[in-house]
């Protein structure tokens, strides 16, 4: 039986499934539809592009794409720039 005080943080939080979203850990309830994640983030499909594990996800596949714990997700949009 591991002692709670000696348990590293990474194990202590591992009960909550997470993905890496734009570089930071982000909790998910389990497998998650990409379109549902975008909705949760208020990110409109016409304004963003998505990479999962370095592969671009075409817009037509947003509903069919399932994000799994451990996935590395990048969502980008346009900002002011020269």
């Amino acid at each position: 039986m591991p002692d709670a005080f000696s348990m590293p943080d990474s194990i202590a939080t591992s009960t909550m499934p997470t993905i890496i979203l734009n570089g930071d850990p982000y909790p998910i309830d389990g497998d998650l539809q990409l379109s549902a994640l975008l909705e949760r983030l208020n990110a409109r499909r016409g304004r963003v592009a998505v990479e999962i594990n370095r592969e671009i996800v075409p817009k037509a596949s947003y509903s069919a794409t399932i994000i799994k714990p451990g996935d590395n997700v990048e969502i980008i949009n346009f900002v002011g720039g020269g």
Partner: protein, 263 residues
């Protein structure tokens, strides 16, 4: 205004024709409303944007494209902030997936302090991107040979710098620019270094096809007024180029008749 006798050629980029030869960046403005006001005042039809991660924590954050309608403006994503060919290529692929077309401003920086381009990496990235169907507009050093190489690769324009990005130093090497313009079969757009309206006019008088700027407008005390000044300068410079300036001479030639003087 009466039409100039020497007909202007159309400003074509990546299969589209544009009336305005001024391309402006959308960075460094106070807010999106000011960005839009400056773009409108400048008459620009092409605007550059940067590609960045969506803000996850602020769900209510407005989107730049809500202020600059992609149906009205040609959105030109740039790869600013990329230091390798790989990063720049990845950024372009993501930008295209947003859905504003395949025109991209390729910028691979080689040095943080000067923001001069990494020439080798820019060429490498351009080669890959052109093969993937991108219409590539590379920001590049004002070196005629490099511009030739980029043209041979299939870039739709070359964009030599006038001076370091954001420096406002104006055109440091008009002679190199003149050579680049003479050799180019694709549009030459001066990108970076413009400080004020006369710099933009000078670029156009040299025969550049367009000018791209951001800081010169966004950083002015009154960006909206400067946007208008730049619009007029680009138009004036272009018209002066088409009109054909007089030769420079060492000695005077009188403007008034030499005969009929009172005696």
């Amino acid at each position: 205004m009466q039409e100039a006798k020497i007909k202007d050629t159309s400003f074509d980029l990546g299969g589209r024709s544009f009336k305005s030869r001024l391309i402006i960046g959308t960075g460094k403005y106070k807010d999106f409303a000011e960005t839009r006001a400056a773009v409108e005042e400048s008459g620009a039809e092409i605007v550059t944007v940067a590609v960045r991660r969506v803000n996850i924590t602020d769900r209510g954050k407005e989107n730049l494209l809500d202020y600059l309608d992609p149906r009205r403006y040609q959105i030109l994503p740039n790869t600013a902030g990329c230091f390798t060919a790989e990063e720049a290529i990845r950024t372009c692929r993501l930008a295209r997936e947003v859905g504003v077309g395949d025109l991209v401003k390729l910028e691979v920086i080689g040095d943080k302090q000067t923001l001069f381009p990494d020439v080798a990496a820019t060429i490498e990235a351009a080669r890959v991107l052109v093969k993937e169907g991108f219409k590539v507009m590379p920001y590049i050093t004002d070196d005629p040979v490099t511009c030739l190489r980029l043209q041979e690769i299939g870039c739709v324009a070359v964009m030599p710098l006038a001076a370091p990005i954001g420096s406002g130093l104006g055109i440091r090497n008009p002679f190199n620019l003149a050579i680049i313009i003479e050799q180019a079969k694709v549009p030459v757009i001066v990108d970076a270094g413009v400080g004020t309206a006369s710099d933009a006019a000078e670029a156009m008088e040299l025969g550049c096809d367009g000018v791209l700027m951001n800081t010169a407008i966004a950083g002015a005390k009154d960006p909206i007024a400067m946007a208008r000044a730049m619009k007029l300068a680009v138009e004036a410079g272009r018209l002066a180029f088409r009109a054909g300036r007089i030769e420079r001479r060492l000695y005077a030639t009188a403007s008034s008749p030499l005969t009929g003087l009172i005696g």
